[in-house]
């Protein structure tokens, strides 16, 4: 099939579909005026029922907390699978040489890169921590905080180089953080059952509206997600960065 024929076919198919697309598009609600009732209902009832001001966290960790548990374990499975595929063979040794492409100059890090990374790396880590802690109050939460912390670790890599970075973050620690976080989330769900309540029912004191410690059980689940996401993404970065090292048999001594 020549490219011209293919484009012709595409145009023909588009023309055939056009009336149907037009009919559906004309029947859509106007932009910015959703007809769904769920969001407004949560916004109206959430603050009173759960004492939190970030309704996204309330939906993620309380009203639909069970769905988040599923997503949490999907992430754990994905990261575990990637780690199993990539772990071993290269980069485990802290002093492993960087892999090189023949005939390509190796350019060291500029001092400005180191300066900027050392300035913004810790600030990013702190911001991620802030975001994870304030899940029930301001936008963001365990997942967002976790990925921001993991990005901060990347800045640390740019600032300190591979060896310093590897000395800073241990693979074992990341394993424990990731698995422990997911376990904490699941256990937070089982805890209410010990008191004869439903799975993941919010039985902890809800705290005061707009306070960091508002939301009750949500805080525990959020901490679990923050740990699991930080550990998961950092482990993914670590396993991938190891792939840029030379094979141990080649770097030998």
């Amino acid at each position: 099939m020549t490219p011209r024929l293919r484009i012709g076919l595409l145009g023909l198919a588009g023309l055939c579909l056009l009336p149907a697309i037009w009919k559906v598009a004309a029947a859509l609600p106007p932009f910015g005026e959703p007809t769904a009732q769920y969001g407004p209902a949560v916004n109206r009832l959430g603050p009173e029922l759960r004492h939190v001001s970030n309704m996204v966290s309330a939906v993620n960790f309380d009203f639909r907390g069970f769905d988040t548990l599923g997503e949490e374990f999907m992430l754990v499975c994905a990261v575990t699978g990637a780690a199993m595929l990539l772990r071993g063979a290269r980069g485990e040794d802290l002093s492993a040489r960087a892999g090189r492409v023949e005939g390509r100059a190796v350019i060291g890090r500029a001092e400005s890169t180191i300066l900027i990374s050392r300035l913004f790396g810790p600030a990013t880590l702190l911001f991620g921590l802030y975001m994870a802690l304030h899940a029930t109050v301001t936008p963001g939460g365990g997942f967002q905080g976790g990925v921001v912390i993991a990005s901060g670790l990347l800045l640390t890599y740019l600032g300190e180089g591979y060896r310093g970075w590897r000395q800073l973050i241990g693979s074992r620690v990341l394993d424990a953080i990731e698995g422990g976080g997911a376990l904490l989330f699941a256990l937070a769900g089982f805890a209410p059952m010990a008191f004869g309540r439903a799975y993941m029912q919010n039985i902890l004191p809800l705290g005061t509206f707009k306070d960091v410690f508002s939301g009750g059980l949500m805080l525990v689940e959020n901490a679990g997600v923050a740990l699991a996401v930080t550990g998961g993404f950092a482990m993914l970065f670590l396993e991938f960065m190891e792939e840029t090292r030379a094979l141990e048999s080649e770097s030998g001594g």
Binding site: G140, F233, E243, T244, L247
Partner: protein, 81 residues
């Protein structure tokens, strides 16, 4: 729809087209990161800060890094054969 929103939507269309039309994989990674930045702006303009923060970290830092490392590993491996 406000002018700001219309402009960001247009920018998102341009950035997305940029990713598709870039042919060199390494440049494409940076086009992808730029697209992530534009999407972050779009989500922010649509008052979805939670999604914007996720997109910022995943779309502009995590995904591009994984692609860059993969490309580097492919190049390092290729010359060994």
């Amino acid at each position: 729809m406000s002018i700001l929103l219309a402009m960001v939507l247009l920018l998102a269309a341009l950035a997305g087209a940029g990713v598709v039309l870039t042919r060199d994989p390494r440049s494409q990674v940076f086009a992808l990161a730029a697209n992530g930045t534009v999407l972050t702006l779009l989500f922010f303009a649509l008052q979805a800060p939670d999604v914007a923060l996720s997109e910022l970290a995943v779309g502009t830092a995590a995904t591009p890094l994984l692609f860059l490392v993969t490309l580097a590993a492919v190049r390092i491996n290729r010359q060994r054969r």
